[in-house]
Structures are given as C-alpha cells and as structure tokens.
C-alpha cells in the first residue's frame, strides 16, 4: 500500500476517533470562545478598541488553543497503537503525514469557529473579497502548526515530561507561522501586498513537511 494511502487511512481513523471522543469540539472550542469574552467584558462596549485588537486576539488564541489541539493528537498515540502501526507495515512517514492531515482538519474547523466568534463579538470588519486569501492563510497556518506538533510529538515520544517538551518545541518554532498568517491577514485588511508573508507561510509548511517525512523513519528506529 502506498505511503499516501496509508496516510489517508491514518488521518481518517484519527478523525473518526476525534468525532467519537469529541475533545476538540466539546472542550477546547468552548474554552477558546469563552476566552474571547474576557476582553469585551473587561473593556466594556468600546467597539473601536475591539475592532482594532480583534485580529491580534484571534491569532493569539488560535496559537494557544491550536497548540492544545495539535499536541493532543500526538498525545493520543499510545505504545499499543504505535506497535499496531509498526507491525501493520505502516511507513513512519505515512503516520506523520496522516497525523498532520487530521490535525490540519481539526485546527481549520477550530479556527473557523473562532473566526466567526471574533466577527460577532469584536465587530471585526471583513469584505467578501478578502475571504479567499484569509481562508488560505488560516489553512496554511493550521497545516504548519499540525505538522510542527506532530514532529514535536515524534521527537518527544517516550521521554519523561513529554508534554512540556513538545510544547517547548512548538512554541518558538511556530513564530514564522504566526507572523506569516497574522501579517497576511493584516495585509488583506490594509489592501497591502501579502505575497511575501504568504510565501513565508508556504515555505515553513514545506520545510516542516520535508523534515517530518525525512526524520520519521530514523525517529521510529531510535525509539526501539
């Protein structure tokens, strides 16, 4: 079976499991939306201020809660499930790609919900023409964060303090993703050029994919 087919199957099952456990939808999304309420409640009905800080709040909460979602995926990878995949002949690169794909779907759904909540609560201005470019930046950000968290999960697998270590890896390395996505969105709002920031996002995603696929096998071997 090809690597891509195995990756698709890994992603499919991840999403089926998430659909049944519902951790992202039932726990993390409501918490993130509740966190959005903190600033309006603290500042009162200052719409001008809320419009101004809306995008910054979106990307901050997107990163913080997005990290939780993305790292949760790799934390669910039990030793028994790793053995199952190893003995089923699953290519470690396929596992990386599949987990990244399922993480991307979950993060995109999460960011879409967060975005709608920002529009409603912060009165953030948005024109219809900006939606495709904004959607592209959200998906590229989601993919990069999912790939980074999957990679961090693989690197820290089997180590003590795994969760803390994975977060420490993801937080600083996500900087180009946050910068690229936030500046792309800001550029759309100002009618400024977004190509360079979009390319930064795309280049980061490609780099993370290449590194993840390349090290998946050696990391699997090192874990034995």
């Amino acid at each position: 079976m090809s690597t891509m087919r195995q990756a698709r199957e890994v992603a499919r099952i991840d999403l089926v499991v998430e659909g049944r456990v519902g951790e992202t939808i039932r726990v993390i999304v409501p918490f993130a939306v509740a966190a959005l309420l903190v600033l309006p409640l603290a500042q009162g009905p200052n719409l001008a201020l809320l419009r101004q800080v809306g995008p910054a709040v979106f990307w901050t909460l997107g990163l913080l809660f997005g990290m939780q979602i993305a790292l949760r995926q790799s934390a669910n990878d039990t030793d028994a499930r790793r053995d199952l995949y190893a003995l089923a002949g699953v290519d470690p690169a396929a596992r990386f790609l599949g987990r990244t794909a399922s993480g991307t779907v979950l993060l995109t759904v999460f960011l879409a919900v967060l975005f709608v909540a920002i529009l409603a609560l912060y009165d953030t201005p948005l024109t219809g023409a900006a939606v495709p470019a904004l959607a592209m930046s959200v998906v590229l950000f989601a993919y990069g964060l999912a790939a980074l968290a999957t990679l961090a999960g693989e690197v820290s697998s089997g180590l003590r303090n795994r969760g803390a270590l994975a977060s420490l890896i993801v937080a600083p390395l996500s900087l180009p993703l946050v910068m690229g996505a936030a500046q792309t969105a800001a550029g759309i709002g100002r009618d400024a050029g977004i190509l360079s920031w979009s390319l930064l996002l795309l280049a980061t995603d490609i780099a993370l994919t290449v590194v993840g696929v390349a090290v998946a096998g050696p990391l699997e071997e090192a874990r034995t």
Binding site: V16, V17, D83, L87, V90, T224
Partner: protein
Amino acid sequence: MQTDGPGVRLAAVQPLVALARVGVTRDGNALLDDVVLDIAPGEVVGVSGPNGSGKTTLLRLIATLIRPDRGTGHVLGARLATPGAFGVRHRIGLVGHEPALVPELTIFENLDHIARLGGLDRDRVMPVLEIVGLAGAARRRIRAASRGMQRRVEIAHMLLRNPDLLLLDEAASGLDADAAGLIEAITTRVTANGGAVVTVSHDPSHLQGCTRVLSISAGRLVSA
C-alpha cells in the same frame, strides 16, 4: 538439542529467528543477557518464566520493536536494529499484554482499519470474525468489549494477516476453552505455512503442545 555457551542454541537450518549473545539494557537494568536462540520454520517455541524475567522483552526484541545493545540478531532474514527490520515487520504478528486495538472503534472497524493499512482483502474481515465467533458483536466498540472478546479480536487480526512469525504473550490467560482452541488453530496454520510461533507464559501448563520449551530467568534464557 545442543548447548552453545551460556544460552541455548538449537541446531536449525535457515532459522526464522537467530539471536547470537544478544543483550538488552534499559536505564541501567539488563533486561536480556547473553540470549542465544535459533528458531526454525515449523517450530512452536514456548518460553516460561516468572513475572519480570524478560519474557515480554524477548518477544518485543523478536518483533523488532526494541533493539539489542549487545550481540547480533536476525529475524526473517533482516538484521535487528537496522532499517531492514522495517521491511519484515508486516510479516510478524504480536498478541501482546495490552491489546493493540483502537478502543474508540468497533470490532469490525478495527479489523477493517488493519486491512486498509496493510493492503489486505477487506472482504475477509467478516468471515474472519465469524471464525472467532464475533460476527454478532462486530458493531460493538472495543472499549465496551470484554478482555476475552478483545483477545478474540486480536486472534482475528492474526488470521487476517497470516504472519510468518507469530508471537504470543500470555495469549491463553483468561481465555475460555473455545478461544484457547482458536490459538491452537492459528498456531497450526502458521507452522503449516512454514512459519514459526513463540509463545510465552508464566504458567508452564499453557505451553503444552510446544515443540520445545525454554525457561527464562533474570533475562537469561536456559533450556527448561
């Protein structure tokens, strides 16, 4: 049987497993020490020993899931601790202590997932479930299945995959007579196809029917 050094070596032609003075140390503890073992096609090797003696470590070593620190080992022609070991994993079946199943999926979905990952014939899933007596419970989630049912699912997994090397870790523990009969049946099937079986148990009565029985104590393998 002929003795060679501190471990046990059986004369065998083109062994499926060949371990030469293999040792495994983790966190300063010698889990396996100076293990010498050849397993020929058609053999059913039983290993008995008390808890913590190294039985599970031995099986995981043969399954290529852990690497030796000392000595050399070959499994199905691939040298342990080399990338070549990846290539034979799909020919190895392991029924371990912890069920290698996805708890959120149903019994059918687990086997279907394995079939999809391994490029196996998905039409065989239901017939295999009928063989192990679980066709009527196919839609039950693993989380809601009894330990005995989970064992049957793992046996069904092995029937689906037809491994050349079957490793059974306390597989008969807690099973009723029907399920124990299924283990005998799959053991016969594997050896009839030129494969081999290694079964470990702390209870020597579970090793009746083995072509030879070894004993393991403090990580050292000796003839029983």
